[in-house]
Amino acid sequence: MSTVSETLAKEPPVVEQSDSGKPAKSGRPSNRLRLAKLRDLALIPPIIVVLIIGYSINPDVFLTKSYLVDNVLKYQAVLALLVLAEALVLIVGKMDLSLESTVGFAPAIAVFFVVGSTDFLGTPWPAWTVLPVTLFFGALVGLFNAFMIVKFKLSAFMVTLAMLILLRGLQLAIVGGATMSNLAKKIPVIDDLGSTRIIGMPVSIWIVILSFGVGIVVLGYTRAGRSIYAVGGNAAAARAAGIRVERVIFITLAIASVLAAFAGLMLAGQLGAVSATMGDGMIFKVFAAAVIGGIMLDGGKGSLFGALTGVLLLGLLESVLVLAQVDPLQIQAVYGLVILVALIIARVTSGKAQD
């Protein structure tokens, strides 16, 4: 006690205590940096644990390349792209529930123009239009959401919830309750996304790796990326520092929607079809993966690498549940429980409050 006060009396602490009564953390810069990087890796131990559990359940299958790549990762590719999209939106301080509808709506309308049996808008359009039309409608949805949120100052939650319902309805109307199937033969891009393999891995996995790679570089090391964090962290301060806040939000929401539209096309490729319920219910998993991965719901915090580990953890858990032969009737309840446990683990290992 006396030694502490003596040192303090002689030499004021370098780091001042903040006025709120909460002490500022001290430590050398290099330590802090390492610590920040470590937080990104918080989900690695749980992922390893799940891998071990999966291996112990079925050692012959689980850790084989064909199982991990074709049964686990391939089916998480769509989810991963959506999580990337939602992570961007959450970091900029908004949220987008309608992403899951964009997943179905954008490819559905593009495919409809090509294979639709009506002569609406002079259909059939050539098959190559599917990709650009899908992305175009994705962007359109994002820009519309941004317009309502930024210009009309409506709540992002309510706007995108309404859009979720609206787009789902449109998709039902377009697809007509049935399924547009056997698309692989008619539309090359869907076939490519579904069946091409590069160096032994489905192209969708490569796309996810590439997207996250680009995303991590952009968010970490470009002005545009850092503005997303600044706007999400404190829009007023970002504006006073000369960042064009509205534009950042517009562009981020549009990019997220385009990513969702593209994810929808990947999903169509995996199914070889566009169904009326494509994407239905995915948004809950998207949020779960993002939050488990350390993305904060109040904006400005979290990393894409963290979000990616969140997807991986959820995907592995899901496949372990299947391997463990959990009753299909119970799997949803178990899955919900697992998400809760994963949230708690993420909270404990990362030490960050999730609000």
């Binding site: 006690m1 502490v4 006060s5 303090l8 009396a9 004021p12 602490p13 370098v14 780091v15 001042e16 205590q17 903040s18 006025d19 709120s20 009564g21 909460k22 002490p23 500022a24 953390k25 001290s26 430590g27 050398r28 810069p29 802090r32 940096l33 920040a36 090391y221 470009t222 002005r223 545009a224 990326g225 850092r226 503005s227 964090y229 600044a230 962290g233 404190n234 007023a236 301060a237 970002a238 504006r239 006073a240 520092a241 000369g242 960042i243 064009r244 400005g300 915090k301």
Partner: protein
């Protein structure tokens, strides 16, 4: 010790947060009926001490006694609230509820069937407000209260719980001159009625005005307690900063700006609808021009318009070039650096690092093709940290973890980063301690010695003393202008609009 036990006595309080010692030796003795000042720099341990004597923090060692009795158990909030109350700088009322509902939160008077009786609640609230002569309607939504009214309501609420010891945490920080006078009158009345206050403030003059005794904390420990009569200003400051030398009067040695100096900022007929009318003003190179005025004078809105945050008409030129109105980018590119008036609102992004915040205005200079290279950014930040003496563990520390004075220095760094021709500063020293104040104003002084000019918007006399020239705004117009060496009373009278030559 005299026969009467002190109302509050904290002895040997120690509090650690992890490795940081927030309070090494906290002692405080407050006698019934006095107004006691608690002063110290940011980080001296004042907030921690307040946390301990309000029962919100558990000390690692030491004890708190009220009138000689041991303080209640930590969990017994009701018992604590009967003994001590704290009015914080930031509101602790529920904005969506009325004043009456706030006063009786969780102890609402019941009516028939045990349900809450709104009429009885309103009546009791009115009686309570009346008893302490707080001129506020009980039906007013708390969101519509002024800072002054909100503080009085919080004090009345505390008194109604039985507490006769009230801690005021920087109560004057957001008040303007006349409101401060009214608050002090009220405090004196309450003091006569037997209420004891612990008064925390960075404004030393207020301590001499209202307090009888003062306790100084420094570096997490109690330094001295004495009557204000025995502690003159120099002694007080010396106790706070722990050095024999007092504070330098920043700017006292500024060279006179020659009449031939080139104008660097020219305002011609600048109007901000609803706030500012037809302001003409020139700042020359090497000159700091202060803009004083009350909250309603439009001085802040003028600054925001110059920074591009508000629309305006009229012409603004920097070094002879016109600046486009209405966008922050245009103002930045035109050479105007801006320091916002409330750092917690639009000064910094708390979750981002010192380096990111400080370089936010110059991101395009940190790498090619829209890239931001962390090495370059941190190097730039290190220079600024050294330049402005920012106390931080490094460029990577989130600004949200810094003390008020250091966070403000980061905002200052951001303002200066773009190497602006003109700096526009709004209340640059609000809520920072004396030493930080000195280094912030010192930075403004140093950066404007030669080429740059500065417009310093403030109602702090200490800030305005640095200025080469001070203009006074009333009702959106400039009504007076003074060169260095103005008379304090005259300036205050003009700011309040009560001097004879005001419009």
């Amino acid at each position: 010790m005299d026969t009467q036990q002190p109302l509050v006595q904290a002895t040997g309080i120690v509090k650690r947060f992890g490795p940081t010692v927030a309070l090494a030796d906290g002692n405080l003795t407050v006698h019934a009926g006095e107004t006691h000042a608690l002063v110290g720099r940011n980080g001296a341990g004042k907030s921690t001490l307040v946390g301990v004597i309000t029962g919100l923090l558990k000390p690692d060692a030491g004890e708190v006694r009220f009138s000689g009795e041991q303080g209640p158990a930590l969990g017994d909030r009701a018992a604590w609230r009967e003994r001590v109350a704290c009015v914080y700088q930031y509101p602790s009322v529920v904005k969506e509820l009325t004043v009456a509902e706030n006063l009786f939160l969780d102890r609402q008077p019941r009516g028939r069937f045990g349900l809450i009786s709104p009429s009885r609640q309103r009546k009791q609230a009115a009686e309570l407000l009346d008893a302490w002569s707080v001129p506020v309607s009980p039906d007013l939504p708390a969101a519509e209260l002024t800072v002054e009214q909100r503080q009085l309501v919080e004090i009345a609420s505390a008194l109604s719980l039985g507490a006769r010891f009230v801690i005021l945490d920087e109560p004057t920080a957001q008040l303007e001159g006349r409101a401060i006078t009214r608050l002090f009158d009220k405090l004196r009345t309450l003091q006569d009625a037997g209420v004891t206050f612990l008064f925390i403030s960075h404004h030393l003059s207020e301590i001499y005005e209202i307090c009888q005794r003062v306790t100084v904390f420094r570096d997490a420990r109690h330094i001295v307690t004495d009557t204000v009569a025995n502690m003159d200003r120099d002694k007080l400051v010396a106790a706070m900063i722990g050095e024999a030398r007092g504070l330098v009067q920043v700017g006292a040695d500024r060279p006179a700006v020659p009449d031939t100096a080139e104008p660097v900022l020219e305002l011609a007929g600048v109007t901000v609808p609803g706030h500012v009318t037809e302001v003409d003003l020139t700042v020359r190179r090497g000159e700091i021009v202060g803009v004083a005025g009350s909250a309603a004078s439009g001085k802040r809105q003028l600054a925001e318009a110059l920074a591009g945050l508000r629309g305006r008409t009229g012409a603004v030129s920097v070094a002879g070039r016109k600046v486009r109105p209405g966008t922050v980018r245009a103002a930045l590119d035109g050479g105007i650096g801006y320091l916002p008036g409330d750092r917690n609102i639009d000064g910094f992004v708390g979750g981002l690092s010192v380096a990111e915040n400080a370089t936010m205005t110059i991101a395009k200079k940190l790498g090619p093709a829209g890239m931001v290279l962390p090495g370059k950014r941190d190097a730039a930040a290190r220079t600024m940290i050294a330049d402005l003496d920012i106390h931080t563990s490094g460029p990577d520390q989130p600004v949200g973890e810094l003390s008020g004075g250091n966070a403000q220095k980061v905002v200052m760094a951001r303002t200066l980063a773009s190497d602006p021709e003109v700096i526009v500063l709004v209340q640059p020293t609000a809520g920072v301690d004396v030493r930080s104040k000195e280094s912030l104003l010192g930075a403004v002084d140093e950066k404007t010695r030669e080429q740059r000019g500065a417009l310093l918007i403030s109602d702090e006399l200490d800030d305005l003393r640095v200025c080469d020239r001070v203009v006074v705004m009333v009702g959106g117009r400039i009504v007076a202008e003074h060169t260095r060496g103005w008379d304090e009373n005259m300036l205050v009278a003009e700011i309040e609009g009560i001097s004879e030559h005001s419009v």
